[in-house]
Every structure is written in structure tokens, then in C-alpha cells.
Symmetry: C2
Subunit: 154 residues, 2 copies
DNA sequence: GAGTTATTGATACCATGTATCTATAAGGTG
DNA sequence: CACCTTATAGATACATGGTATCAATAACTC
């Protein structure tokens, strides 16, 4: 997760203007360690800066996504609620999402995945160019909690 | 991809009623070999059976998804258009999606994936319970086409 | 400080899906 | 077969996530 200043510098370097609203949204985004929905972000921003428009939040999210500062992740939720956003660094990596507390850990495991890709390429004659992989499970902390007491949200 | 009759029988067996609208949506779904959006399905159904309500289409898609006859897949599309549906058989498997023609091939590659899961579990102490994996690339037919001429949609 | 232009906020809009509610029809029962 | 029960249908309104548009504003350049 890069710092606010680093991202601002990069925006500037790429010719984007360093506006107040952008800074605000960026700060709010980088504060979050777990995935958030656009609605959650929008709510938080309305608390701290009620003058900022909804469109600006979406535009900034979109910009940050294109820059790789934020990733969109998919969830098997109902309704339109299938997207969440997550601040993360740029390198290609995958996410490990805790079912219980929502925390996300990154992992970079490319050897096994490349083996899989090569095997599938061999068997199907596809030329594989990309992948989406997310693992879901229970993080160490939540596992410990559920072993001691039955409360399901930690 | 199971046949229409097999799915109807299963619906019946599980206590669902075999109604006209359900049959129609089911037939329309099973005809499709490539992923489709709800809008595409709805359009097609309006052509052949204009009296069927939109809600019924969504309800049937939902039912078929719960039964495993249809899978929701995620795409990195803009707007709300992130979902597509795909008729497929029930076994757990993954999808191989052609960037060019949209065709989807299933693959069952669990050895390499399990190796990956075990490795990540070891390194992160997560208890991994599930995954989402989709590979995207170019199918053999499209690869041949793009090699001969430059047209990008096959 | 002035000018250019990217960006903003407001508003209206679109698309995907769900909730609700009355009418209907499926399928079991006599 | 007629009847009853209840799942399901269609209609409508609504919720949500996101985009298009457009006049006003504020960043940066000179």
C-alpha cells in the first residue's frame, strides 16, 4: 500500500491535477485495509466532506483502479452488490479473503499457478493470457476465535 | 450441460412446479453455449414469448443458479454489467473464457490448484475453504483466425 | 494575474436485480 | 373430474451501482 504522497506524486507526474476532492477520496481509500464497497466509501466521505459529489467518488475510484492503486474484487453477493474495492500495491498478486472478518491478505504464488496454466494450455490448446484467482477461507485470528467461542463475526 | 428433460425432472423431484414460463426460460438458457447476460436472455425471451415477465426470468435464473444448472461468472466490465450467466454441468470446475469469441470451455484441474492452496495455507496460516478461478485467453479457433487475417471478432 | 482546460457537483439517467402484491395455474386429494 | 392449496406468475415500484451531461470552478501554465 503506497502512501498518500507517493500516489499524489504519481498522479501529478501522469498529468492529473491534484485537487482537493481527489486528495480526500484518496486518503479515505488508503485508510482502509479491508475491501469496501462504493457505498461504504461514499458514506464515510459524506461524514467528513459533505460537499463532495457521488460522481467524484466513482470517478476517483475508477482513476485509482486504472492506476493500480485500487483493485476491484468480485464477490458472490446478491443484487448489484458484486463489486468491492481494495487498496493494494501494484504488483500482480492475488487475494486471500477471510470469510469471517473480511480481512484480505495478498499472496504472490505464481509457480503453482503457472504450472496449472501450462497444464491447461497443453490439454485445451488455449493460449492463456490472464486469470482471476481469489481464495476465501478463515484467517488465523478468526479461526482461533471460533475455536474458543461460537460467535461467528469477529 | 444436462438436457431440458433432465432438469425438469430434477425440478419436479425437488418439489418445484413445472410451469410454462420455467420451461421456456430453461430452454432458452440451455440453448446457449457461451456466457450471456440477463439482458440478452430477456431480449430473446421477449421475442419468443412476450408475455413472460422480467421478474420471472430473474427468478428462474436464480433458481437454476442454486441448482447448479447455471453459473454466474464475473467479468471486469464497466457499470453494473459485471455478471454473466453460463449453462454448465454441476461438478465443480473452472472456466476458460476466450477473449475473442466469448466461448467458454470448462476444465477440471484440481491437482495443481490443490498444491497451490496447500502452499498458501502453509505460508499464511489461513484455512482455505474455497476459490474463484477463471482463466482468459484465446481459443484454438480464434488463434488460427487471427494468425491468418486481422479481423478481431470471430 | 490571466487563460486554458481538467475537474467538479448536480442532476438525470440507465441497468441489474429485488420486494411486494394480486391473480393464476400446478398438482395433490376426494 | 372438480376442488383446494399454495407455489408461481406478471406488474409495478423500488433499491443499488454506476455513467452521461453540463454549467461552474479551480489547477496548473505562461
Amino acid at each position: 500500500m503506497p502512501g498518500v504522497e507517493a500516489v499524489l506524486e504519481r498522479l501529478n507526474h501522469e498529468g492529473y491535477r491534484l485537487t482537493g476532492p481527489r486528495r480526500l477520496v484518496l486518503v479515505e481509500v488508503l485508510q482502509r485495509a479491508t475491501p469496501f464497497t462504493s457505498a461504504e466509501l461514499w458514506d464515510a466521505i459524506q461524514q467528513t466532506a459533505p460537499t463532495i459529489g457521488r460522481a467524484t467518488v466513482f470517478r476517483t475510484l475508477d482513476l485509482l483502479t486504472r492506476l493500480g492503486v485500487v483493485q476491484r474484487i468480485h464477490r458472490d453477493a446478491e443484487a448489484g452488490r458484486c463489486h468491492a474495492y481494495l487498496a493494494c500495491d501494484e504488483r500482480h498478486h492475488h487475494h486471500l479473503i477471510c470469510n469471517s472478518c473480511g480481512n484480505v491478505t495478498d499472496f504472490h504464488e505464481d509457480r503453482a499457478l503457472e504450472a496449472l496454466v501450462r497444464e491447461v494450455e497443453r490439454r485445451t490448446a488455449f493460449q492463456i493470457e490472464g486469470h482471476r484467482l481469489e481464495l476465501v477461507g478463515t484467517c488465523p485470528a478468526c479461526r482461533d476465535n471460533t475455536q474458543s467461542h461460537v460467535g461467528d463475526k469477529c
